[in-house]
Symmetry: C2
Subunit: 161 residues, 2 copies
DNA sequence: CGCTTCACGCAAGAATCTTTCGTGATTTTG
DNA sequence: CAAAATCACGAAAGATTCTTGCGTGAAGCG
């Protein structure tokens, strides 16, 4: 699956544009990348089918929705055997407060990106769910103050052909 | 700006659907949320204009694009006065490897979400750019092994009216 | 009770999407 | 080297979707 695809300059332009505005119409996009609409649509489909484009997502304004707390949690487990790692990973999927979760190497075993309506809800989650979950050793939390950069996943100045 | 909006159940359904598939057509979306296309489009526009929907983004498959390293960096500064924080925040915007950055409270001052083509590129960045940047005290890195959860920003079971 | 306000949905015109097909450039093959 | 095959582009057309302009009915208010 993670086979390296061979993308030309137009494909990279398409990816950059769709990463910036995922709802751009195909005609608008085709104009920006310098080809006509049909081949542009074919390229989009190909990028989707090969899994290079994993999907599209609306970005929401958390504070405006009453979600005032964004935090990251670094989790250390007592035992890091494969089964234990999978068990904890599965557990994160049942916690709605956890939006993204990564298994990491280093001082911690997992990094959790959390969103909660307020500090009380977040603390309740940390104390009653996270820290009291089986096999959890350490929980370090970092409350976010504000986002200072917000780009897409891929920077093109580093990877473009 | 972060004024709390009053959204009804249909608005929440729209947000949930667009967070799951940001490129869904308006007619498809209107069918899913149970209203006709015109009022559905008007709701989308309103959510966009009020800033509740911040934008749309294509999600890319980093490994397929030759980006094999995703890591998080926790940065501690020597001095945390407002000017120094702003200076470092500004600096993160000039680093293409840094995709998202948060100012945080806790043991560290910033959390950086980084993507690089390989370990060498990442280590070069950490040593030559990050750790040697002015005012940087500590750099702790967590290399990601795999993503174990990947939802949108907002969980609706926690906040829906 | 009557007025205002608001959001819905129908309908129609504009824009877009999507397919089909012919052309030219590049590559492969004999 | 020439012929065949492959590939992607772009024009054109039909299907779908977007977008606007009303008309209607339900709530809120004087």
């Amino acid at each position: 699956m993670p086979l390296k695809a061979d993308l030309d300059a137009i494909d990279w332009k398409i990816l950059r544009e769709l990463q910036h505005d995922g709802r751009m119409t195909n005609v608008e996009l085709s104009g920006r990348v310098g080809i006509s609409a049909p081949p542009c649509l074919r390229r989009i489909r190909r990028l989707e089918e090969t899994g290079i484009i994993r999907g599209y997502r609306a970005l929401l304004n958390a504070p405006a929705l009453g979600l005032d707390v964004v935090a990251f949690c670094l989790i250390g487990l007592h035992h890091q055997a494969d089964a234990e790692l999978k068990t904890f990973a599965e557990r994160t999927r049942g916690w709605p407060i956890v939006r993204d979760a990564w298994m990491v190497s280093g001082e911690s075993d997992f990094l959790l990106h959390c969103v909660a309506s307020d500090l009380g809800a977040f603390q309740t989650f940390v104390i009653e769910e996270l820290a009291s979950a089986p096999n959890v050793d350490t929980v370090r939390t970092a409350l976010t103050i504000r986002r200072v950069k917000d780009e897409g996943l891929v920077a093109f100045s580093e990877v473009r052909p």
